[in-house]
Symmetry: C2
Subunit: 359 residues, 2 copies
């Protein structure tokens, strides 16, 4: 069991990573609560919600609810439904929402907690690799049909309790999705971490010790950046490496057609390509490409038109004044933020799509 404390301007909270925490969760609650709502998705609920609730039997009111699994539930409708459930279960300002699930559940239930009665406590209990990323940093959001995470808040949880035994139930595409963010944390922090990650073979059962170690490192990279820049005015944008195109692909293909991390993986390849071009340097593009291909990441996708993608990239929250901003690498471990004009972006994107398609 490992503990890191994340410091934000408003609160400090612990991220606890370990095996079997789900059946031992009561001891990690930072306060006494009388009314708890566990929010999950319908897949995770069946696997773990009962187990979690049993461990909270000392609490007066513990209720469970779930939304359909998948990004489609990060909608204004599900958001409103969960608020209604919170009211029906009589949650008040001292109540707690537990987000049990992956990034979708964390984002959705977190935004409900952030806005219910102007903000009540919530705890993240991640059940995916991807959630090592999304559960740290205090971003909560839902999607708008015109763009991902366009509606949300900065709202930190009061704790993150990460039971890695839940990762065993993940399908292969979710393992790929989560590991893309681990790769990202390597690329923006240090080459040795990146190289370690590329040694992992995702087609075989994960070695728990390696997974825990790499998740912790990933969390540390993210926490370090988030602590220095809570509201994404500056270095926090580095975490967006691979996400500008990644989000556009995800949004244009339709959520559910490709996982978040798989789209980000393609976005990272593109960001490496643009970086090489922009700085006239060599980066481990081929190494990453080979690893992604060997691990069955979808790289030959049904590409949306470049114009649609560029429009979406402009809609990205991180873009300013309708110019696309990308995170590039000056070298591995040294990210920087660069404005890319439309003309240049279009040429590079077309070349990239052509090259990727023909490989």
């Amino acid at each position: 069991m490992h503990k890191q404390t994340i410091k934000t301007s408003t609160i400090h909270y612990d991220v606890i990573v370990g095996e079997g925490l789900l059946t031992d969760i009561a001891q990690f609650l930072p306060k006494n609560y009388e009314n708890v709502l566990i929010v999950s998705d319908d897949v995770v609920e069946k696997l773990y919600a009962e187990k979690l609730a049993n461990n909270l039997s000392h609490i007066k009111n513990v209720n469970m609810t779930s939304v359909p699994a998948g990004e489609g539930s990060k909608s204004i409708d599900k958001y409103f439904e969960l608020l209604t459930e919170a009211i029906n279960h009589k949650l008040d300002r001292k109540s707690l929402i537990i987000a049990l699930g992956g990034g979708m559940v964390g984002d959705l239930a977190g935004f409900v907690a952030a806005t219910y009665m102007r903000g009540i406590d919530f705890i993240q209990v991640p059940t995916t690799i991807l959630a090592h990323d999304s559960s740290v940093g205090g971003k909560v959001a839902i999607n708008h049909p015109k763009g991902k995470n366009l509606i949300g808040n900065f709202y930190p949880p009061v704790a993150v309790i990460y039971d890695v035994t839940t990762l065993r139930s993940l399908p292969a595409s979710e393992i790929r999705s989560g590991y893309a963010e681990v790769v990202k944390h390597g690329l923006i922090s240090e080459e040795s971490f990146f190289n370690e990650v590329l040694k992992v073979d995702l087609t075989k059962p994960l070695d728990p010790d390696v997974t825990v170690e790499q998740l912790q490192k990933g969390i540390a990279v993210k926490a370090n950046i988030v602590e220095k820049d809570e509201r994404e005015s500056n270095i926090r944008k580095f975490l967006n490496f691979g996400h500008t195109l990644g989000h556009a692909i995800e949004s244009e293909m339709g959520y559910g057609q490709i996982t978040h991390g798989e789209a980000v993986a393609i976005g990272m390849l593109f960001a490496l390509k643009v970086s090489q071009e922009n700085y006239n340097i060599s980066l481990p593009y081929n190494e990453l490409y080979q690893w992604l291909a060997a691990n069955n990441y979808p790289l030959m996708i049904n590409w949306p038109g470049p114009d649609m993608l560029i429009d979406k990239m402009k809609l990205d929250k991180k873009s300013e004044n309708a110019i696309v901003q990308m995170v590039l690498l000056e070298e591995v471990g040294k990210p920087s933020i660069v404005n890319i004009d439309d003309h240049n972006l279009r040429i590079q994107l077309e070349n990239f799509i052509r090259e990727l398609g023909s490989l």
Copy 2:
């Protein structure tokens, strides 16, 4: 032109009160903006939006939108529509939303600003007396069918620019609604302020100098409390004087059937009554009753059942663990927070309704 600076944990912002500020607003913007969305209601838009926009002609993109006047627009649907408009007008993280209107517009547009791309700048330009209250303190929210302001954030504006000449267009019910909050600020701060307010005759045209002075005092009372307690854990609850029953009446009668302040006026009478009973003291119940009656406040209302009201009072955000909390007065200017058990509450509410009905 008078300026007060409100200090919150995250930002300091100015509240500027004066005559004719609407045509001189550019000089009060705290930053340069390239993209501004003015959000108003359909009544206020016709009166003032053009005037305001003309004064911002130096800004590249200025767009206007409005929702139907009335509390009914503080809905999840209008909220989502405005978010969509913000996207369509390509607002980014450096853009500005101006809330031009009363409390409804401020709450709704403020919540849009708070959650659009996880928070962009917004400025309140209040056009009602009531908004002297709602525009200060950083509370933004929309309503849920099951309760008022149940969905929202604490999110301060970057400025409040209050042009009192806009108050001339207010209907009588809106003047009553706003003045109820001025009365409240008197009752929870000091007797002399309260007594001054009771000298005002709302059935005659308001004296601008008196109005400006009393609005400023009201703002100062609120600002003083809000600065000490931003997130309503403690003394900020004092501002809820009259609101526990007031919100329940408003919600049970249906928004639009009675104005916010008119409902709060009845709630203040009830709170004075309960205070007298609870502390065995004498308070200016009759003085307030006479003033409200003389100024045409609706006091003989079509009362919802006590059970319905008590249920709503429990739903109030300020209640904790399903016990109704009320703000009482130990004396004028000395509020305190008291838990009232259901049985006692029911008896006092029934007596109050009977007495008010028969007067």
